[in-house]
């Protein structure tokens, strides 16, 4: 994954509780430590804001993909029904957009959903052959991990460990990638 460049040493604070880790993020940041990332078994609301992650633009991607779907549907029906093989069925005009609303809707939803999910996977570097960097295997079970990239912090290891412990970490481990 692209998030780690070269051999990195990480201090990993392990927390038992989601509220504690959320509070710890603020405390650790206040103490001047740069947090690499926090890992949890379920989403913690407000954590991305506390970490300073920018708001996701997936919504914009979804809108654009949806627009693409509508356009495709419009072009498909217009081309087939008006130019390639104009046909009057049941007395309806060969091209009347209102008849094709179901087609527009379905293709909009289909392209929007597939495009957005694809964007999500690509933007998070997820894929069948991806080997995840796990700072602690228990973060997919019941623990919460705060990873501190030592190469991006000027504080001494002992100081960071103490800050993590003071913030409520049950244990602090060293992880080398």
């Amino acid at each position: 994954m692209s998030e780690i460049n070269g051999n990195g040493k990480f201090l990993v604070g392990i927390y038992d509780d989601d509220d504690v880790v959320l509070k710890a993020v603020r405390d650790v940041k206040k103490a001047g430590v740069r947090i690499h990332e926090v890992y949890s078994p379920f989403p913690i609301h407000g954590l991305d804001v506390a970490l300073g992650h920018p708001r996701t633009r997936l919504g914009i991607a979804a809108f654009l993909f949806g627009l693409t779907g509508t356009t495709l549907a419009l072009l498909l029906t217009a081309y087939t029904e008006s130019f390639d093989w104009p046909m009057i069925v049941g007395g309806k005009d060969s091209y009347s957009p209102i008849i094709y609303v179901p087609i527009f809707f379905e293709l909009t939803v289909l392209i929007c959903a597939l495009g957005m999910v694809g964007t999500f996977l690509v933007s998070n570097g997820l894929g069948p052959t991806v080997k995840p960097l796990m700072y602690d295997l228990r973060t997919t079970d019941n623990k919460f991990a705060m990873a501190i990239d030592m190469s991006k912090n000027n504080l001494a290891e002992g100081d960071i460990e103490r800050i993590l412990k003071n913030s409520g970490a049950a244990e602090v481990n060293v992880k080398q990638f």
């Binding site: 989403p43 093989w85 179901p102 293709l107 289909l110 052959t129 995840p132 409520g168």
Partner: protein, 476 residues
């Protein structure tokens, strides 16, 4: 803090579960050897599937003449089964998407199995479309592809083509929604896997999920948009299915009430099927702490609501048939109730209108035995509803000289049985190899909806984090 919940709310998760308990309880059946109950159920399903598959192949080999169709009743069990299965598929997306948008926490314990049910139900529905085509190897003709006959395209003005778009979109989006929902749990299973094979397989399917805050934030956003997309999709699919009938001129079909009526019926039957499946799962997999009486009651409330809507729709149909002054319409509805298929009509009325009204009683609503029985009754009733709409409308058309009766043959029945074999085989495979309850989502509600605080907490004032004050005393 965010986890304060009113003491008047009954816990959704019982047994004082911790996060680790959730993982342990749900992963158990995935990681352990198959239970005896599962093995027996799976064996029966596979036998039924094999028998059904043989019958389906015989149907294709001989042609649709093996069915009881005739010139007048050209659609019968095939389309009845198709509409019924599509309807069943609707509860999954409803639970996942619409209840997510409405912030209904009780959905978390049942959404995974309900979504799986949707996928498999839509597969069963699609199998009847393939059967009904008679020549399934030409199924691709329904797709908008330039073909070998020149520039002849599908008729985009036909509800049957809308159906192709609607159902394939519904299936694809539901599958994606379900799979995306599985990612965090697949990662959990991956990280707990002991064998190399499991680690590899769950590793590949979990797509490298590591649960970072950034991923979770995007994931939640994506789930919300997918829910927003799926919600109108649910409505559109059964609306379009209903248009297969409503845009025709057959008395009994040509009604504007069909779209909302079909959607309500779909949710009605879908929830009944979810009840059946969840009640079995909770006992077989010992998940009574996760799928509680509260969940059962909530779903029964939805069944009561949608059942009542369906009941009103039946009465509205009758009223409009009379009020329109069209003699053919009036005849069609009187014939439904008193004609040769009166038994199907009254079976439908009894099962769909009367039986769900029993859920107004709190004791019945919260009873597992009553719920299971009434859910089976509702599913039978909804099958009869589709049968009544299709067969009784067709068997008396405008020309009395062409009036005919439909009698199912062994192949009509066997092909229906095939779909049960297919459905339960797929569902049992799902129940064995994937977590039937969404672990990650259940963990998010455990503090606010559980009997006890899941873990001892340090660093945060205890009084602020009370999940349920009544139960919190012993933790403090």
């Amino acid at each position: 803090m965010s986890h304060v919940t009113s003491a008047v709310r009954t816990p959704l998760i019982t047994g004082g579960k911790t996060y680790a308990d959730v993982t342990e309880d749900i992963s158990r059946q995935v990681e352990g050897r198959p239970t005896r109950e599962w093995t027996i159920a799976f064996t029966i399903s596979v036998i039924v599937l094999i028998y059904g598959t043989a019958c389906v192949f015989w149907t294709w080999w001989e042609g649709l003449g093996v069915w009881g169709l005739n010139k007048t009743v050209g659609w019968a069990w095939d389309i009845t089964n198709f509409v019924w299965w599509v309807g069943i598929g609707h509860a999954g997306t409803l639970i996942s998407a619409i209840l997510l948008l409405f912030r209904q926490k009780w959905r978390t314990a049942v959404n995974r199995a309900a979504e799986a049910m949707t996928i498999f139900a839509v597969i069963c529905a699609a199998s009847f479309i393939l059967m009904h085509m008679g020549r399934p190897w030409l199924a691709y003709w329904a797709l908008p592809l330039p073909n070998t006959f020149g520039s002849l395209w599908v008729n985009f003005k036909s509800p049957l083509v809308w159906d192709v778009f609607a159902i394939s979109t519904y299936f694809t989006v539901s599958l994606v929604f379900w799979y995306m929902g599985l990612l965090p749990d697949l990662a959990t299973i991956r990280d707990r896997a002991r064998s190399k094979v499991s680690r590899y397989i769950y590793g590949a399917f979990s797509l490298g999920w590591n649960g970072s805050a950034k991923t979770w934030a995007r994931y939640e956003y994506m789930s919300l948009i997918l829910a927003g997309l799926s919600t109108p999709l649910v409505l559109s699919v059964h609306t379009i299915v209903s248009m297969d009938f409503a845009t025709s001129v057959i008395p009994g079909w040509h009604t504007t009430i069909f779209p909302p009526y079909f959607v309500a019926g779909a949710i009605f039957s879908g929830f009944a099927m979810v009840q059946n499946l969840m009640l079995i799962i909770r006992v077989v997999f010992k998940l009574e702490d996760y799928i509680t009486v509260e969940h059962i009651e909530s779903m029964n409330k939805v069944i009561t609501l949608t059942g009542s809507i369906v009941g009103i729709a039946y009465l509205t149909e009758f009223f409009i048939a009379w009020y329109s002054g069209v003699e053919f319409e009036t005849y069609a509805f009187i014939n439904r109730a008193t004609g040769p298929y009166w038994w199907a009509y009254w079976a439908m009325m009894t099962c769909n209108v009367i039986s769900p009204q029993l859920f107004w009683s709190r004791a019945i609503r919260r009873s597992v035995v009553w719920t299971f029985t009434l859910s089976v009754v509702v599913n039978i009733g909804m099958w009869f509803e589709r049968f009544v709409i299709i067969v009784t409308s067709l068997h008396r058309d405008y020309l009395p000289s062409s009036w005919a009766m439909f009698h199912p043959t062994l192949f009509d029945i066997s092909d229906y049985i095939f779909s049960f074999g297919l459905f339960f085989t797929l569902f049992l495979l799902f129940a064995k190899f994937l977590p039937v309850v969404n672990m990650a989502e259940v963990k998010t509600i455990i503090k606010s909806s559980s009997e006890k605080l899941p873990v001892s907490v340090s660093g945060v004032a205890k009084g602020e984090r009370v999940a349920n004050p009544t139960f919190n005393k012993d933790v403090e």
